[in-house]
Amino acid sequence: MSKRHPLVLAMAGFGYAILYIPILIMIIYSFNSSKLVTVWAGWSTKWYGELLQNGQLAEAAWISLKVGFWSATIGVVFGTMIGYALARFRRFKGKLFLNGMATAPIVMPEVVMGLSLLLLFISMENLIGWPAGRGLLTVIIAHATVGMAFVAVVIQGRLSDLDISIEEAAQDLGARQPYIFFAITLPIIMPAIIAGWLLAFTLSFDDLVIASFVSGPGSSTLPIVIFSKVRLGVTPEINALATIIVAIVAIGVILANWFALRSATTRSTDNS
């Protein structure tokens, strides 16, 4: 069987085109000087200028960055603990329960997640007075809950690939458990922890549905503001904003991939 049948290649190319053409068109139109999306009136960067003047979008972006940072940080700490417990503790009470609860947020529909957390926050406020109202804190808690599930899966996967004999050797040589974790395990899984943090941050930064339920006045995240604008149709400012976000993500992903490849090659040359 031929490895590269032209028909198969054409179908694959078609799939890539479906993913990329809308984004490329959006990027091109962000440089259109006309306000009308239909009319091409020449290249211009004026929408990027307008974007910088837009206080509402800037404020929402700042809120989203804060929410993303804190939820990813909480998510990474708890997610690493879950992943470590699931991969390294042989048997403990509630392992199955923890495993189920840690993976369920990944497949839970966002509308259900958002609604249930909002109802919880309201019940808790009535019962114990905390959290007082909806705002940054409630969005951070909600996003951290989803984020830690994804981090746990990443960490658990990394730890089960990791050769346990390194940790066992340290134990045989008399090192104590917390020391082994911080001196050996943690540095080795650090790339996975960073990837988990970035994943949790991205999920938080992109989320519209959960944030719409649990945010309050003054804590509208960037996706909430974008959604309220694009409901009415295409706007050149959002094209410009989307282009900036796509560019940052693309550079980040390509750099991360380059570093990963380079460290993989260095490691394999070291070993030989």
């Binding site: 069987m1 031929s2 490895k3 590269r4 049948h5 198969v8 799939g15 890539y16 479906i18 993913l19 990329y20 809308p22 984004i23 068109i25 959006m26 139109y29 999306v37 603990m81 417990a85 390294r88 503790f89 403990f92 509630g94 329960f97 923890l98 189920g100 609860m101 993976t103 497949v107 529909p109 966002e110 509308v111 259900v112 609604l115 249930s116 109802l119 919880l120 019940s123 009535n126 909600a142 809950t145 830690m148 346990i164 458990q177 917390p178 991205t202 930064f205 992109d206 519209l208 996706p223 974008i226 694009v230 409901r231 295409v234 976000i245 693309a250 980040g252 992903v253 390509i254 991939n257």
Partner: protein
Amino acid sequence: MGFGSLKRYLVIIPPMFWLGLFFLIPFFVVLQVSLSDPALTRPPFTAIFTWDGWWPTGFLGDLENYEFLLSDSLYINSYLNSIKIAGIGAFVCLLIGYPIAYVIARADSRMRNTLLLLIILPFWTSSLLRVYALIGMYSPNGFINSSLSWLGIIDQPLQLMQTDFAVYSGIVITYLPLMILPLYAALEKLDDDLTEAASDLGATPLATFWRVTLPLSMSGIVAGYLLVFIPSVGEFVIPALLGGPDQLMIGKTLWTEFFNNRDWPVASSVAMVMLAFLVIPMMFLRNTQGRREA
């Protein structure tokens, strides 16, 4: 390997407490609200227990909201339409994703890395913005319509927005990476010797595909299908931005019930029924994942 038992619980208990409080208990709160009645109070629903101090003395909940869901065709149609759209959408993702996963798995290692990167890249960019990009393609004055009329092929803009086609496109552009990654994982493990043996024994390429490659990649197909199907059922952004007002999907119906009608008890019962629908595919997904890891 692992900590001593006391220290272990220092690792296990904090995240377990967090998930118990912020993931498990909320479902009981939703269940409770789904049994209550709407009220003109803050929050807008009645209590379902009467209390004497810390002791519940009476139960006032009922199944009225669930009976209401059954009696109004809006909800039944929303559920059925969501399952239809998610089912077909996941199948379209499979048809588009399989050749991509196949080409990636069969490419040499340098090329493979680049091709995989091109699949992962959109996955890291906001799905809201990818769906938004489709509006720019499909709207009456969007890229496709303006190109076609510029070429003189059409006089009137085509109705691309607010159609099933637009919603399926949204599912593909949002969830295609989730289909490709498990397919790739399954196809990558496939031993070339098996397909070569089949063709040596006289099987045509098509027969080899149907009888060797496809069955051996079944675990990836099932995982990918469920990974697209499950979130698509409850999807809100795609039907809200690309679908028409009469296009019912359960995520959008729940949203409208909650934010526009402010009927929290009905929204809660919609959520409970959606969960009941999704428990089976979710368990199924967990089993396929578990078997793959073992």
